[in-house]
Symmetry: D2
């Protein structure tokens, strides 16, 4: 699935239901924050190791929350007239410069990440 | 850009820098929450109308934060072995059933959204 | 209610239930993010004006989420050995210096807030 | 410090700077989400053990973010006319009923937490 196709599907979905009036940027940003909260909550009491060995039911639940995050993110980009695909390519190109691959391993660049 | 291609790029990016040890699910979920916080912060003091008439600089800043959100979301799906594309299709199919298009307008289904 | 009293109550509540092993910092930070997500979700589809004229039921629901946020925040401070009271006084003292009151109104300092 | 005193201080702080027009509920909820994002980000790359042995500098940074969270939470309660102290007492009373202390340990009630 491309982001463009998802954008078009979500736009039609909202239009068919008369939801454009609710889909204003601040509202969608808040909805996105709410869904990320639900996603984080799915993992909050699990240990790091448990998170890497999710049961099928857990993986299903987490996946459903991740889908909600992606859908609100995509819809927000659409109403803000932001090309999320282009913005992501640009950010990745910047990250390549910002975090160079080191000969001796990645430790130094990790420091940069945390800065 | 497909989610599959983005997933592959981010996986390679992390591997080249030795970051897999940091990219554990809870850490990535927290990073995602942090980036969504930055995104929301870009819009927090703007009025609803101002959000719909962003300047180029604002749109650039918001787009960069949205890219970070998408990248951490995609990376988290990868380390959790979740097919985000498939999960999103499934969620959209459920939403079609959950929020039927009404003949007389979308008000009733909006109530459902808020429930 | 003082933060100290709330801290003591929450510590006892967790101890009586054997929850200390779950109340590790990352877990509590994630739980806090989850509760903030629930709080934000309560207001997401309301207009700015509707938010300032909540019904009793809405105010009750929002208040319950705010309580959850306060409780996880207080509990997190406790397990991190952070004096939240002291940290808040320090931050307020810094903000007084950072955002001076202007004779002619607060517009200039608002710019500082948004910077 | 009591929540009432903090509420009064923050109200005066905003009034002196002419910030009431910015301190509308949705804006403050978004600011709160933004600050929680910053707080979570402070801990995101640390291991669980590292989080429990913060350096003084880390503890200072985390405490400053926690203060921001508390201030926005308190300010939001004020503009929504919600008594956060009362809401918190009510929530704690409900939690006592919801999570009874078990004779044989807290495991069963933990399951309830995760439900």
């Amino acid at each position: 699935m491309s982001l463009d196709a998802l954008t078009a599907d979500l736009r039609a979905f909202a239009a068919e239901r008369g939801w454009e009036k609710f889909h204003r940027p601040k509202n969608l940003a808040m909805a996105l924050a709410g869904e990320v909260g639900e996603l984080v909550a799915e993992l909050q009491w699990l240990t790091p190791d448990e998170c890497e060995a999710l049961t099928d039911a857990q993986r299903e639940a987490v996946g459903a929350e991740m889908a909600d995050v992606l859908m609100y993110l995509t819809r927000l980009a659409d109403v803000l007239d932001i090309d999320l695909d282009k913005a992501t390519r640009a950010k990745m190109a910047r990250n390549v410069l910002r975090f160079p691959v080191l000969e001796a391993g990645g430790e130094a660049s990790v420091v940069a990440v945390q800065a």
